[in-house]
Amino acid sequence: MAPHDIRRPFKRAAISDQQKRRELSLQRQAQNRTEAQLQARRLASSILSFPNHNSDPQPLESLEPLVEEIVEEPETDAAGDITEIDIRQAARLKGSEARRWFASQLMLPEWMIDVPDRLVEDWYVFARPSGKRCFVVSSNGTTVSRLRNGSQLHRFPSALPNGAKTKESRSAQSYCILDCIFHELDQTYYVIDMVCWAGISFYECTAEFRFFWMNSKLVESGACEAPSNYHRYRFSLIPVYGCDHEGLQTAYTGEVPYVKDGLLFYNKHAHYQTGNTPLVLVWKDETCSQYVIDTDNKGQVPNQQQVVLELQDNGQLVTSDDPPVVLGCLNATFTQETGLHSGNLVRFAVNDGGLTFVDGKLEKADLHYVGKVHRARAFADSYSKIIFQYMVRNSPLRIEHLFASMGTVSEQGSNEVEMVG
């Protein structure tokens, strides 16, 4: 039994830097884990509380009618903090903030400016109904549809799960959220996607799975039947085709009970992702849409292509993409004279100089100032939209190109696709 060592640390910091590194790492990991969990919960709680606010005393109807409703695709915003807002707060948002929030809940297609790889293998196609894009939420014995700007379109009983106060008692869990287009002519909700059904979320499911589920469940529920007391509007499924030659042909020229507004392409493996996604694409030409070229407020096609861009602090003009694409720059004197501020949305006409591309990338645009944009509008145009509109006016991506691309793929069995752009 030897004497016991009693040496104590001398002139040493109480904690070693290595220990500090470990602890800071653990802190960061714990923080990241909490954030991952919160994100999952926030998604769910926004779905859960969605119907609770459909009796909101401050409806956002004042924003309507939106002139650009049908002609323009809603564009996402890149303003991160607004998307973080819980829907309970969102119900209190007004104007452009409300629009931003609700728009950010929908999956928004990019415009097809070139043909994606493996169109035949990986993509679905269907004819998009012309109408109002909206979320339909059924819960607590009622059904509410909301436009992408958050305003309420209809409040009605439906045969969707828990969509009407019927005698058969439904589980409260049975809420559902559908992504629809409301078609005015036949007063029908065309279901283009399913976000939630009977309490099960489909956010993380592939399009293939969602479409399969949607087809079987919607019919089962009786929502596709003719309107009745407990079912004010009819819901209707859209025939979805695999994007082979025949499928594309059918979607493009086939008879449908609604007015077509272009074709939608869905990647089979894509999850339901809020905001802009390149895994859903929209394409149109005169054959399948009345609205190929953007119209102005009076419904006229302007002589020159018009684009809406957002003015930045440094005078740069950017698109709504994340990260934004810079299309030009305003000098300070001009900004001052016109009374523009950072964050303003500004409309420009594309001059004869057009858009210049280098290596397939947009390098510069010959722009001419038109004026500020109506205040109700929340977003600048996206890059893909500007390019698509430009191509439509100059060298459009035609249906033949789409057919041709699948021809080469299937014949050569390779992934190479001739670029059209």
Partner: protein, 872 residues
Amino acid sequence: MALEVTQILLSAQSVDGSVRKHAEESLKQFQEQNLSGFLLSLSGELANDEKPVDSRKLAGLVLKNALDAKEQHRRYELIQRWLSLDVGVKTQIKTCLLQTLLSSVHEARSTASQVIAKVAGIELPQKQWPELIGSLLSNIHQVPVHVKQATLETLGYLCEEVSPDVVEQDHVNKILTAVVQGMNASEASSDVRLAATRALYNALGFAQANFTNDMERDYIMRVVCEATLAKEVKIRQAAFECLVSISSSYYEKLGPYMQDIFNITAKAVKEDEEPVALQAIEFWSSICDEEIDILEEYGGDFTTAVSDIPCFYFIKQALPALVPMLLETLLKQEEDQDLDEGAWNLAMAGGTCLGLVARTVGNDIVPLVMPFIEENITKPDWRQREGATYAFGSILEGPSPNQLVPLVNVALNFMLTALAKDPNNHVKDTTAWTLGRIFEFLHGSTMETPIITPANCQQIITVLLQSMKDAPNVAEKACGALYFLAQGFEDVGPSSPLTPFFQEIVQSLLTVTHREDAGESRLRTAAYETLNEVVRCSTDETVPMVLQLVPIIMMELHKTLEEQKLSSDEREKQNELQGLLCGCLQVIIQKLAASDATKYAFMQYADQIMNLFLRVFACRSATVHEEAMLAIGALAYATGPDFAKYMPDFYKYLEMGLQNFEEYQVCAVTVGVVGDICRALEEKVLPWCDGIMTQLLKDLSSNQLHRSVKPPIFSCFGDISLAIGENFEKYLMYAMPMLQSAAELSSHTSGADDEMIEYTNLLRNGILEAYSGIFQGFKSSPKTQLLIPYAPHILQFLDLIYMEKDMDEVVMKTAIGVLGDLADTLGSNAGSLIQQSLSSKDFLNECLSSDDHLIKESAEWAKLAISRAISV
């Protein structure tokens, strides 16, 4: 056979390596072939007075090693093997051992007493060998002194091996009586007295009951105090060791003896030989430890584990005499103590104790120390200047900043001059250390009056950077001071006073790392650690310079990988350097990844950095492994889904890390990195999950793995499930039963000590995070049905830990979150179960009214989810 063993044992100690090796082989073979016979002949050898000392001693050691091992798993095996031996064999061995205590050969007795203690350590908890203590005590009355000495020594070892609760009080009383009698001044043999004093040190843990009895306690204390005055140094030293042990075990009983103890310790510090004086100072340091702990609990939360021991303020009462005694020791420095890592002398112990006293009493120490400082700090004798400076540095933690800041404002300039100009290395070392303490405790955003101002900032930095060129020990302290200087500016905002000097500071630190003598006094390590802190504290203004540091550190790391054919010594140095560089890169990556702008700029280096880390792994050393692993976690966080491309090359090292049971820190860090990778790759991690889950499940089933790694492994289940969602299905049948049995273990804590409760809460948190991740992972899936069978148990677990009333805030937050996740994912399927649970009512309400924002937030989530699930 017996003769043969003697020869083998002697050969095993031969100077001839091959003979030795052969003998060791033979022993091993013998042990494997016939354990009983092997142990019998060893004990016979040890007991036989006719045999040579060397073979007897080795026989005893081999016997001891057959009963115990450091490594826990191995120890358990050895214990089981001993217990399964034939009773007759064991009795024969034990008889031999006891008989050896009577031997006249000291080495044989001493070895036997250790072996007896090992056997007792195995058998007493099993209620075997009940006659042992009786037969030992009967030895005490034997005439030969050496038998008495050996028996006391045996009792000492026995008390060290055996837990107090397996010895009945009657035996404890008899052991203590024998030991204290042996310590008594009337004991004629100093060997017996020393053995008894050392035995008491171990037996003190058995004396709980005796210390509550005034008469017995008085007797023990009197004998111990008398022994501190014994003629033999070793007895005095051992007696002071007993006092030190008593000061922490029986703090609350010391009141009546403090005056006497002060006198004894003061005398020892002043006059006695160093080993004794050091123990005397240690007594006071130990009292400080006790009072600091008690006072910290006073200041802390009264609702949790209030200590039942009050503070008796012994230090405060002794202060007027204690401080001068300690100050006197400060002048007894040794010439080169700062250059000797193992040094521990009177001045060092006294200064350390002074620092503890300052932490114990706070402001009261200042007026007692200041005159000493003022008197000595300008003296020509370096000992006086150094002692004064050390005293100043020692009292900087404890007293309030209000007291200290005015003093520091006066002293700062003097210190800077001394650091730059004092001729003595020792004085400069202590001055730089003191500056570091000033910055550590009195500089930072929470201070009312800043001690670093625009007026003196430049001078401070200039002097510190200059000192980084001084001797390695001084330069190391200067780096340390710079570390705390930077730390104090950590939350200063976008513009830091360090900005104008940032480049110069970084450059100087890099220069230090290249010094020829940077291996001395831990200098290189200090320089990199300071660089890390400077990086952590960089602001928007200086972060571009951090980005420039990336290729520089990468180049350094690259250089270490180019060195070839290293000696083992060089290899060790290379590994150490790689550890420092990986650590530095980790800090840089974490800093740059925190903002998008710098993250994108950094990403250009990601491929090359990852390549370097992989090469570091190829060198395989524990500490490098850990640092590179930590750095890779930071890199995964920075790169996000792109990290997938590194997985094919990285995976094998990830697996190696998860298999590293021995260095559990490495294993723990790797588990954390799995979490980082899950969050970075999300569903792309799926192809690697089979392998990862297999390793994690193996880790959990292993009783070799340090328990601290288990909670993070459970959390990691949650990370994986959250990343791969319903694909976790195939792991449910393995993961759920493990979670369930761990949950059962952790739901009851009655009778556990603080440390156990803390661990239990960590374990609960891990289990709950796993449940959260699994529920959330399945939420998007039609396979939620698979989770329904587990719901009753999980709800029951939540109820149980709620009823135990000892969960901490972290567990509370996670637990109520799990309730929400369960309700959200299972919905009406679990509605009635949830309604029946206590958690959905009392616990939820308690959380909803919590002051803790995070708990409240989770509770609101749970409330929302539950209301959905149960409203029909």
